[in-house]
């Protein structure tokens, strides 16, 4: 059960990672008239259309993470403590804290991206998107390391 949930959690996180990366690049480095390159096409997406999906994926990913966290606390963390992986546990705590702060920001993020896009929210929208992107990327990387820290099959 826990393994299945972790895999689904990971898949949702990958989808979220893709969506927020597209949106962040499209916001901070919008594509010019020449979009022939891969990078040009990557950042030429209509960024506002990603907002609803990002809110949904973030909420689902956090919910799944909250369920998996129960198994982690009982079965995994004691092993990591025994082996002295204190830094990894510290990073995991940070991931949880950042995720919660991101969760609180979701309503504001969603409002900022509602069409028609308000001009006065331009900078705030871009900054908020970058904050969410940082949270998603850091959470993904920390989660990935934690998932593999004991080695496959251990």
């Amino acid at each position: 059960m826990a393994t299945t949930l972790v895999i689904i959690h990971g898949l949702v996180a990958v989808a979220l990672l893709g969506a927020i990366t597209h949106q962040t690049l499209a916001t901070w480095a919008p594509a010019g008239p020449r979009q022939g390159s891969f990078y040009g096409r990557f950042r030429s997406v209509p960024s506002a259309s990603f907002a609803n999906a990002i809110v949904l994926l973030y909420a689902v990913s956090t919910l799944l993470g909250a369920v998996v966290y129960l198994y982690f606390r009982v079965d995994i963390r004691p092993e990591l403590e025994r082996d002295g992986h204190w830094q990894a546990l510290g990073f995991f705590d940070l991931k949880e804290h950042f995720n919660s702060i991101g969760l609180g920001l979701l309503p504001a993020y969603w409002v900022c991206w509602q069409r028609p896009l308000a001009d006065e929210l331009g900078r705030t929208r871009a900054a908020l998107t970058a904050v969410i992107a940082f949270i998603v990327w850091s959470s993904y990387l920390i989660g990935h390391v934690m998932n593999n820290i004991m080695g496959f099959g251990s």
Partner: protein, 119 residues
């Protein structure tokens, strides 16, 4: 989908306040409830394992859910208050607080997590 200006004020105040309340909850250990996953027990408030009941000594306790709940509920108060603020008042507030406060909250979380990295 459209939203009212009052909802916009709520969302902006809520997001900012949530970050502040979360750091306060984390630093003051103000969890709305504590989860003991191995026992399947949830107790109101911050309950350190050895304080909750002698029989729970050594049982893993989880506070993250409680801290998040504290922040989520606490932030509703400034959120609802902001809904009733006149539009001309809120226009004077710098919108940058919406991301500056969470960024500072994240830095505060890093500071509060530092003990893990000194072990």
């Amino acid at each position: 989908m459209t939203f009212s200006p009052s909802f916009r004020r709520f969302a902006f105040a809520y997001g900012t306040a949530f970050a502040v309340f979360y750091v306060v909850a984390l630093s003051r250990d103000l969890a709305l409830f504590t989860v003991f996953p191995s026992l399947g027990v949830v107790l109101l408030g911050t309950q350190h394992a050895q304080d909750a009941a002698p029989s729970m000594g050594g049982v893993p306790a989880m506070y993250w859910y409680g801290w998040t709940a504290t922040a989520a509920i606490g932030a509703l108060i400034p959120g609802f208050i902001a809904m009733f603020f006149p539009e001309q008042w809120t226009r004077r507030i710098w919108l940058g607080w919406l991301w500056v406060v969470p960024v500072f909250a994240m830095v505060a979380c890093v500071y509060l997590t530092m003990p893990w990295f000194r072990l």
